[in-house]
């Protein structure tokens, strides 16, 4: 894209952004579409209720067992690298929260490769809704909404029992950094979709993302180089999980909050540019 065209596009977006009436109208359209999708997902959850009960049970067992193991490690050792075992649990809880939130909003990404292979994605392209929005948010995971509630209660209870220092300031900053983390979660899902458009293979990549963020259930700073560097700057799991947890705990942060915010916003910007490029390479698979 030439500098002229890029400037023209930026100008067009800026004009739209300042046009409040236009923005409000688009927001209303997209929120209505999302609520219809979410409502369908709720109905689907209740149709497949027994499967969803088993999913819920499986997730509860996973959370319960993980917490038991962390508590056993807490009893057996004094510390985990530079962190106390109590602090280690906060990293796990932050990972758990972000993993669930990512699933709630972006579960549709897991089904994307089938849409590309079957040609169903063509139908998204022909609709007056951004195809990225449909691909990204097209299948919210209602089961995880139900799971989020007990998860938050258990996390709150555990936090209250740990020997850690949380101040009002650190909690507020933690919440702000979680928003930044959500930008990274979004960026990584957009990246997965872009790979799906180009290679028609999303399954492996999205599960790769899940496994990468699993590395974040422990502070990323304990990993050896170059994995540590990659987890902070290439796939910024460390910025997403480790830094907010460090801020909440009032411990020295591995990298500055300014840099974290820059990585959060920057990763979203880059992923959107990649998606724009990827969608231009798309050639329908069938249909």
């Amino acid at each position: 894209m030439s500098a002229f065209h890029f400037g023209k596009k930026v100008l067009k977006i800026t004009v739209r952004l300042v046009n409040k009436k236009y923005m409000f109208k688009r927001f209303k359209v997209y929120s209505t579409v999302w609520f219809i999708i979410a409502s369908n997902a709720v109905q689907e959850t209740f149709v497949n209720r027994w499967s969803n009960v088993l999913f819920f049970l499986g997730k509860a067992i996973r959370l319960g067992m993980s917490l038991i193991v962390l508590l056993l490690i807490k009893q057996a050792t004094k510390g985990f690298g530079q962190y106390s075992t109590d602090e280690m649990i906060v990293f796990f809880l932050t990972y758990q929260l972000l993993d669930i939130v990512g699933q709630i909003f972006y579960r549709g990404v897991y089904m994307f490769s089938n849409m590309v292979r079957s040609g169903e994605f063509d139908l998204f392209l022909s609709k007056p809704i951004n195809p990225l929005f449909r691909a990204l948010t097209g299948q919210p995971d209602i089961n995880d909404v139900f799971f989020l509630i007990p998860n938050l209660i258990i996390s709150g209870y555990i936090l209250s029992k740990l020997n850690i220092t949380i101040t009002v300031g650190s909690a507020v900053l933690y919440a702000a950094l979680l928003l930044n983390s959500f930008l990274i979660v979004t960026a990584l899902h957009i990246l997965v979709l872009t790979i799906g458009v180009i290679t028609t293979e999303v399954d492996g990549v999205i599960w790769m993302y899940r496994d990468l963020i699993r590395l974040g259930q422990f502070p990323v700073s304990v990993y050896a180089e170059p994995l540590r560097f990659a987890l902070f700057f290439i796939i910024p799991i460390g910025v997403m999980i480790t830094i907010p947890a460090e801020v909440l705990l009032n411990t020295p942060v591995t990298y500055s909050i300014f840099l974290s915010t820059l990585i959060g916003v920057g990763s979203l910007f880059i992923s959107l540019r990649l998606w724009d490029w990827g969608i231009k390479q798309y050639s329908s698979a069938s249909s």
Binding site: S51, F55, R62, M65, I68, K78, F80, L215, V222, A224
Partner: protein, 263 residues
């Protein structure tokens, strides 16, 4: 026999069609081993022994469980119930082959592919972490191999049971998710089962889950007495017999009721 060998080769090639997915799958296994090795290395920096394991035993556990997961738990039959429910399974039923042998061959091809990669990964991990690995006697190694083959057979029958759900319902992913969630904690890379509280260990002891790698590794590490070895050989054989009987019964009944309109 020749036709099953050809089917094995075809299944092997099918497994290599989506190469990005395969690469990602192997990379995921590799990273989960790196995570487990890192976490335990950090924990052993402050203690020489944890939960009855020293550093060498824990490293051996993580390496072995990585290999066993690729050999025992990797399976090419995850989509079987969907094939049955959607009716695409009809094409396999029409072929002049024994369906059980065909499914077994598919499963073996998937395992062979995973083992091929896990050997390469293990060499890389060995060079990266340079760990001390515990090696057992020849006799123990032979029993270990028999137990591994037993676990392969046990999981195959359990996969057939999950596949047979497709004869009756499209909702087959829920039970499999729960099953693999249990497997993850009873045969997982991150920690050995015996670090869990006694009540959980006792409960899990009544299930087949520890036979998917935990007991094999305990044998390899020399943690079992001759009596316990005999006892676990019998229990594993019983589990295989039960799973085999249930899976064949369900399949015989399912195939009698099976219909696939529109295929």
């Amino acid at each position: 026999m020749q036709k099953y060998w050809q089917l094995f080769l075809l299944s092997w090639q099918n497994g290599l069609v989506y190469r990005t997915s395969l690469l990602m799958w192997r990379l995921r296994q590799f990273l989960s081993t790196v995570m487990a090795l890192t976490v335990w290395s950090v924990l052993f920096n402050s203690s020489s022994s944890l939960f009855g394991y020293d550093r060498t035993q824990m490293t051996t556990y993580i390496f072995l469980v990585g290999i066993l997961q690729s050999l025992i738990l990797a399976t090419g039959l995850n989509g079987l119930s969907n094939q049955v429910y959607s009716g695409s399974f009809s094409f396999d039923l029409l072929k002049p082959i024994n369906i059980y042998v065909y499914l077994f061959v598919q499963d073996m091809a998937d395992k062979a592919k995973n083992v091929f990669f896990v050997v390469i990964e293990s060499i890389i991990l060995f060079l990266l972490f340079k760990p001390s690995i515990f090696f057992p006697s020849i006799e123990t190694a032979i029993i270990f191999c028999i137990w591994v083959l037993g676990a392969v057979l046990l999981l195959f029958f359990i996969q057939l049971i999950f596949g047979s759900f497709g004869f009756y319902s499209p909702e087959t992913w829920g039970p499999r998710f729960l099953f693999f969630m249990f497997v993850d904690f009873t045969a997982g890379k991150l920690f050995p089962l015996d670090i869990l509280p006694p009540i959980i260990r006792t409960f899990v002891g009544f299930t087949p889950f520890p036979y998917f790698s935990f007991w094999q590794i305990q044998l390899f590490l020399g943690k079992l007495s001759p009596m316990e070895i005999g006892q676990h050989t019998v229990v594993l054989s019983i589990w295989i017999a039960i799973a085999g009987y249930v899976s064949f019964s369900l399949w015989q009944k399912g195939i009698k009721d099976y219909s696939a309109a529109g295929q």
